[in-house]
Symmetry: C2
Subunit: 700 residues, 2 copies
């Protein structure tokens, strides 16, 4: 991809002398940003643009053009790209719209475009975007004029599905004196997508932080793999969350929505930091531009006491600890400043001291404290006053942050014009209020922590059930176009080594009665069907059967009901009744974008309404499984908050076994162990019911 | 309070010629803002300030001074206020710090100050604040110099416990061209508090919106009553939420924290809009400066498609509906603009049209659509470009919003300097991105809705239990310094007309066995104690007793255990076992600041871990009770989502009865019906267990 960003010869196709021609703006941008390579222009109408003749056709181009930028009507693009191919051009940016995002005809054109590109081995950026920007060599290809004031060179890479988002971000970052390294507008992502660009930017020496603005995720699993290996902070603003929004995004860039909870889980798991609006993105970029927050020990220094209170709230909310400043600190401060004694509390209210040098000195004294992980300094000034001092303060903080390798989150409240001026003049990021700085510091801390704990590899115990045997069951169901019978589903659960409440399938009443004695009362009777009966469909099962009389009655009732409903059955399943234990749900399904997603949650009639579930993309390592359990709001109950400690090792093992199953057996599209009863410490647990779906189209 | 804000003669006490004197700044501010009244200065050192002689003592002041502003060391303040009293001054602002927020000695001084003020009938502002500002007459009393550029006259009133917060807010509002009417810095709230100031500002003709910045709430119930009657929007930023923060706030303004969940519930109930940072406050002030959002039908118009997607997400999140634009609309648009046909989708992407007049016209066409309740317009511009056009666009939107009485939330993304310039130049509020505008529009809609539904008065059915009888039980317990026995607590529940699972207290085994037959098995046995036994203390009760044999065994065990523990008991309580129904918790407690707080939630072993509870300050009306039920995350279960519809009228009635009890019987400090079993529709419900606390100090 270096060729795309560092071409030596560029052709802009779709240029004319006409006033409304947009292709000319591309050329102008290349000149304005002093792109050092050769630039050729091509346009049907010929003429002269910027003192150079516009070539009438691609054929007239010389050999050795690395990159073509196309901005012509959609219908003409496939043949133009074909021409590029013939000329040996291997990288093409298509900025034209009117493809899949626009109409059926556009979708057809898009397919043709892709075929043409593939034929020649061409890699495509777009279509329907504003191209790329490389601030290192002035390769600036958007089709509207950009001023060099608007584009600042720096170390943030941006990959976006929306051109508007790119400019919103660039402008906001430049306002804080943060520049960009490389920018890509992906448009419809017909060929290259976020995985390609991200992989490149993570290797790019000029890029320290990568921001992605996504409306859809092309290959969730692939993205996760790339992101997981990233040493650089990756920030994702993923929009298009709601189904109603999805429709709009489809118009806009042909993007389809994934279940946002899966996206959220996947990004978190891959160590990606998610933002929900531009303000959050900018705050995150700022915090990753200063040294990382290595722990929870924070000191708040404030120019006004009131704002210190608000800051302390946000600090507590994000799990920070207000570091207790030591006597040693007090002594140093007293020696250093003599008359100006301040009490060594945290937050430090320095409101009465109108002395900027003192602010710097006291901040340095705080940073010297070994236990302190970072500082939040809340600065405030009257409109138009103290701007020079504020800038100097920021510069001093930059030096201190570098010297002590600790973050100083500088917040500044004033009127917006002064704030904008100071931010713009200062080469150190400035936040506005604690609500900006503290969530960002928390993200910095969490990322640092994560980087310190390595993923553990899990050794899966082999499954009791032979893989071939398992595949046989599944294949039989799939070829019959049915889901698994209940006894088959339970067999698979046992097959992966998770205990199931003892059961037996009886064909007739006598067999049932005999087996019931073996299993022991109380019992449950269920119809052993391949239809997915809803748990609340109470006609399909009978609970808590206490003796043979009840058994016989229940058996007859279920057989009759199955007949009435015309259910495909393998008999009646008799199972030991498990009244004790904590009802949990464990399941998995194959997501279109992310592959196997593992789900763990509390069961029971109303717990599921609280949506207390944890999601992870499989396969899981042990840490993932532990984190899933810990993430449940009800985790404290399992850990003994209500007197009983539950068998967490059993639960963790079951989660890992399920993850392993999904990784080994792609035929399974969905599986639910609902409920799986969890017993107290050392007692294990038991799956009671299970459903397995082998068919994508079952609507599972 | 008019006298405080419109004094004719003002004395500033604590003025000197010395460079570091702060009192002089107060005088300077009064002159700069052209305060039209007479200003006298008093200071021990005498001298001349601003061409006027500084009086050596209060005695030298003429008669008829309405307001004194004191800024002298704390220790001198009580005697100065005494002097003011002698001079007939009835309003005093104390800006000095060093009182209750600072030290024990300061707390003593504070008490003396209050006594002195009371003696003379003086009303105090402060101490430990920056006084008041009235932009109508230039009464500007902070002790640091303010420029007239920093203070813009407008219609927002601010009441704050922190001086720093006042200036942060004023500067941010002025940046958007929003000015203030009257401002109060309450400081330690020794005498006057937020209720006094809010009552005044709600009546004040110059004020349209009131913002409160609170670190503590002086009298929650009083504040609610004032706020509830408010016709003007009241926005509260309440900080000091976390216990760790409370300690800091105490230093700062001697504020103590209330349980934030109670605060949250109370503010909501009183129709107050709560904000969590300055950005949110400013966004709310903006939205209340434009016409209200009367419903859910929103049209999004965006200059870039990408940002429309983000806007649609936020719209869906806040429950807005993207109004489907009609054919009629399309026709009008086509007639009006002919060539420029745009498709009538919502969001409208006008990105390709670089025509500001067109933006205005299309927005007007949208507003004309009867079903449309409001518009979000996402504007974006390159740095430094189109600023004039953007200002004109805002001005046009102001006219349109006024004409159609519908809100147009104008968002503007550019570089921060351009944004600050445009905002400052425009007399119409401008947001930044959808994440700013849509939560604000939702607050506008919710407030409008609320204003349309009137509170209903509830007629309480009289209680079966006579009030005197009830008071007797409570008084007996209180005088014995004990909580209620279980049978007494259950008696009170019955007494307020809520059914209780049948029970009987037995003194001995034979009585128990006889009564058990009457009640019918299965039964539960509980120790009838006045000690508050935790529900999980399983030794204190025996569940699901099925026959006399089990009864006898359980009875003996409980009696023995009670003896071992030396529990005060009235016997053993035998109660019908209620295995069916939904376990709910209904309770109330008296909050120090807000009085009776009613709580409703789901019961059961783990539901309480999800903290699915609804809180309201009593007394409740029917709507409150309905809203409490509806607010529970599990409400859908009660409404039949899992097949069973529960008896909601019973639950609502029980909530209202409890509210009534708390209103009539102040002796009860806390009460829990836990669980109260809710049966299916028409079947009512039954309290099973109850605790009543009559003593504040029980730590309940």
């Amino acid at each position: 991809m270096r060729e795309l960003f560092y071409p030596e010869r560029v052709a802009v196709i779709g240029v004319s002398q006409r006033k409304e021609n947009l292709g000319r703006n591309i050329v102008e941008n290349l000149f304005r940003f002093r792109f050092p390579g050769e630039v050729f222009t091509v346009g049907r109408r010929g003429g002269v643009v910027f003192g150079r003749r516009v070539l009438n056709s691609i054929e007239e181009l010389p050999e050795g053009v690395d990159l073509a930028i196309v901005l012509t009507p959609a219908a003409t693009v496939p043949s133009i790209v074909d021409g590029c191919g013939r000329k040996g051009i291997r990288w093409v940016i298509v900025e034209s719209g009117g493809f899949g995002e626009y109409s059926e005809e556009g979708r057809r054109l898009q397919e043709e475009l892709l075929r043409t590109a593939r034929k020649w081995g061409i890699r495509l950026v777009g279509p329907n975007g504003i191209g790329v920007i490389n601030m290192e060599n002035g390769l600036v290809t958007p089709f509207f004029p950009l001023s060099d004031q608007a584009l600042k060179k720096g170390r943030v890479g941006i990959i976006s599905q929306s051109g508007g988002a790119i400019f919103a971000l660039i402008n906001l970052l430049a306002s804080s004196n943060i520049g960009v390294s490389k920018v890509v507008s992906m448009g419809n992502k017909l060929d290259l997508n976020e995985i390609d660009y991200l992989s490149y930017l993570l290797e790019d020496e000029g890029t320290d932080i990568v921001v992605l603005y996504l409306e859809s995720i092309a290959d969730g699993r692939g993205l996760m793999e790339v992101a997981r290996r990233a040493e650089k902070p990756v920030i994702v603003q993923k929009v298009n969350i709601y189904p109603s929004t999805s429709q709009i995004a489809k118009f806009h860039t042909a993007a389809l929505a994934t279940d946002d909870r899966v996206v959220e889980a996947a990004l978190k798991q891959a160590g990606v930091i998610r933002a929900h609006d531009f303000r959050e993105v900018v705050n995150l970029v700022k915090v990753f531009s200063i040294p990382p927050m290595r722990g929870n020990n924070l000191v708040i220094i404030s120019r006004t006491g009131g704002l210190a209170v608000a800051a302390a709230d946000f600090a507590a909310e994000r799990g920070f600890r207000l570091y207790p400043l030591s006597e040693a600190f007090l002594n140093r401060v007293q020696q250093a400043f003599r008359a100006k004694v301040i009490s060594p509390t945290n937050p430090l209210d320095v409101g009465d001291l109108f002395d900027f040098d003192f602010y710097t000195q006291i901040t340095e004294e705080v940073l010297k404290e070994e236990g302190v992980d970072g500082v939040l300094f809340q600065h405030a000034a009257a409109p138009g006053l103290e701007t020079e001092e504020s800038i100097k303060l920021g510069q001093a903080f930059k030096r201190l942050a570098d010297k002590y390798r600790k973050p100083i989150a500088l917040c500044f409240l004033s009127d917006e014009q002064s704030m904008a001026f100071v931010k713009k003049s200062l080469d150190y990021p400035m936040f506005i209020e604690p609500g900006d700085a503290l969530p960002a510091l928390a993200a910095s801390r969490d990322r640092y922590r994560r980087s310190r704990t390595r993923q553990t590899e899990s050794n899966f115990p082999s499954f009791p059930l032979d893989k071939e045997e398992l595949f046989g069951i599944l294949e039989e169901a799939r070829s019959a176009n049915r889901s698994l019978f209940l006894h088959e589903a339970l067999g698979i659960v046992e097959g992966m080594g998770i205990k199931v409440a003892p059961y037996f399938v009886a064909k007739d009443l006598e067999e049932a009665a005999a087996k019931a004695e073996e299993l022991g009362y109380p019992l449950v009777l269920k119809i052993d069907s391949s239809c997915l009966l809803h748990k609340t469909d109470t006609a399909a099962l009978v609970l808590e059967i206490r003796d043979e009389e009840e058994l016989r009655e229940a058996f007859v009732r279920l057989v009759q009901w199955a007949k009435q409903q015309d259910l495909p059955t393998a008999g009646i399943l008799i199972q030991r009744w498990v009244p004790e234990g904590m009802e949990m749900i464990l399941g998995a399904r194959v997501d279109r974008d992310f592959g196997p997603v593992i789900m763990l949650g509390f069961g029971g009639i109303y717990a599921e309404f609280f949506e207390d579930i944890a999601l992870r993309i499989g396969p899981l390592c042990e840490r993932d499984a532990e984190e899933m359990i810990g993430e449940l709001k009800g985790a404290r109950i399992l850990e003994g908050a209500r007197g009983k400690v539950y068998d967490l090792p059993f639960l963790k093992d079951a989660v890992l076994r399920l993850s392993h199953l999904m990784a080994c057996v792609p035929q399974i599209k969905g599986i639910d162990l609902n409920p799986i009863m969890l017993f107290t410490e050392g007692e294990g647990g038991m799956a009671v019911d299970a459903r397995v779906v082998v068919d994508d189209a079952s609507g599972y």
